[in-house]
Amino acid sequence: MIVHDAGDRALLVEFPDLTETMAFYRALADSTIEDVEDLVPAARTVLVRHNGNRDRVLTWVRDTEPSEATTELTVEPIVIPVVYDGDDLHDVADATGLTVAEVVSAHSEQTWTVAFGGFAPGFGYLVGTDARLHVPRRTRPRTTVPAGAVGLAGEFSGVYPRSSPGGWQLIGSTDAPLWDAQRDPPAMLRPGVTVRFEKL
């Protein structure tokens, strides 16, 4: 790992790939110390916000061993029902060399894991096990993507929790309640949660 300072109240810890990042994020989240105010997992980094006790936090980060996914309790994946009717479904099929039916089955027949959140409350970046669905973002982002839209971008899949602009390739839609600020926890998709999409 490489540790960078991000000002006097945060460390940015960098890893070679997403798998290692997720393993370290789990370990950091499980053993967090009181000097740490927030952890922000991302694709290759975990940002550690702290209270100014930099040296203590740095020692804790360096001493933390990555936690393998297999050591977690096995929890049943959350099932998200999807109608595969997205505007970009045919473009995704063209880009991947699959038929539309193959795109749908590739998406709905693998287990996805939430790697990290961001972009909007309740938005989770999901990673799968089947690399055939890796597609670039749309060259021209949409100004409005409806709430519940299911999309693909790069190595990730995701569901828009609310209407917003967005550049992901849309393949379907769901009415799953992804975000409810009154619920505890408010986000259905949290780092480490596994997901299966069910074709309706």
Binding site: A6, G7, D8, D38, A120, A181
Partner: protein, 286 residues
């Protein structure tokens, strides 16, 4: 229960406290007062704990009428304050009788003023905070004419302070380099010039404009990574954006440096047209 009836809100007025830390992993940023120091001072002047919510007024224009007796204080950007049309002061305790009208005019310099009431603004919290996060849409809607802001029961000891000294205006804002300073050909350009605050300035961030753009060593893509308040994020045009309280949780442009936490409140007072200078500080104390 006493309350503030809003007669005019000005360009933007939101309820703010010290934000909702701890939810970044599910895409929720901290938010909170853009000038935390002024927010805290306002609370102290009315005997609140600093966690109480205040009204954050952008460019003034806020007019409220007290329902019941309300103890209040105004802090932040130096602005004319009147009670029933008669000039009053900032950074001091103000007692409003039932029906009194308090008005905060346009700041002479700076951008944001804070109106605290003894007991705090008592709107419903969301995820433990009463802050409006303009980025994620969490928290109460911006304050509008016709609203009635309830006064809560969050006061502590009375009075904490009768009067507080407004902060001095600094010459330069101190910056720690990194985490992606090595993505730039030189970091000298950041410190060797004045930066102008553009009109593109809100609670998410402030876009700066300078004569010499910050040049990248390569145009490679940065996978999105966690962002902090005070980060100087540099898009491809080389003009930095400095992030404020409602910044996105993650971002995909490299951060050349981060404003030191002590100077973060100054960022909340940057006003379009202002000129800013940065000074290099390392992480060693002092």
């Amino acid at each position: 229960m006493s309350s503030l009836h809003v007669l005019a809100s000005g360009p933007l007025c939101t309820v703010q406290d010290r934000g909702r830390p701890g939810y970044s992993a599910i895409g929720v940023g901290r938010s909170g007062a853009a000038d935390v120091r002024a927010h805290d001072a306002a609370n102290r002047l009315v005997g609140n704990s600093i966690g109480c919510a205040t009204l954050e007024s952008t460019l003034g224009g806020l007019r409220v009428r007290a329902h019941g007796r309300v103890v209040a204080a105004v802090t932040g950007a130096p602005s004319p304050v009147t009670i029933n049309g008669v000039a009053d002061g900032m950074y001091c305790t103000i007692v409003l009788a039932d029906g009194d009208e308090l008005f905060i005019g346009t700041p002479l310099s700076g951008l944001r003023t804070y109106l605290a009431v003894r007991g705090g603004i008592g709107v419903e919290p969301v995820l433990g905070s009463r802050s409006t996060d303009t980025m994620s849409g969490l928290g109460p809607a911006p304050v509008a004419a016709g609203d009635n802001c309830p006064v809560g029961d969050g006061s502590s000891e009375w009075p904490a302070e009768h009067w507080a000294l407004p902060p001095e205006r600094p010459g330069a804002i101190s910056v720690v380099l990194g985490p992606r300073a090595d993505w730039f050909t030189d970091t000298e350009s950041l410190f060797a010039q004045d930066w102008a605050v553009t009109a593109d300035a809100d609670r998410v961030g402030v876009r700066l404009d300078g004569e010499t753009p910050l040049k990248r060593t390569s145009s490679k893509e940065l996978p999105s990574e966690g962002m902090v308040v005070g980060a100087l994020q540099v898009p491809p045009d080389g003009m930095p954006v400095v992030f404020l309280a409602d910044h996105p949780v993650t971002g995909g442009y490299p951060v050349i440096g981060v404003v030191r936490s002590f100077d973060i409140p100054l960022l909340g007072q940057l006003r379009p047209g202002d000129s800013v200078r940065f000074t290099l500080r390392d992480l060693a104390p002092g």
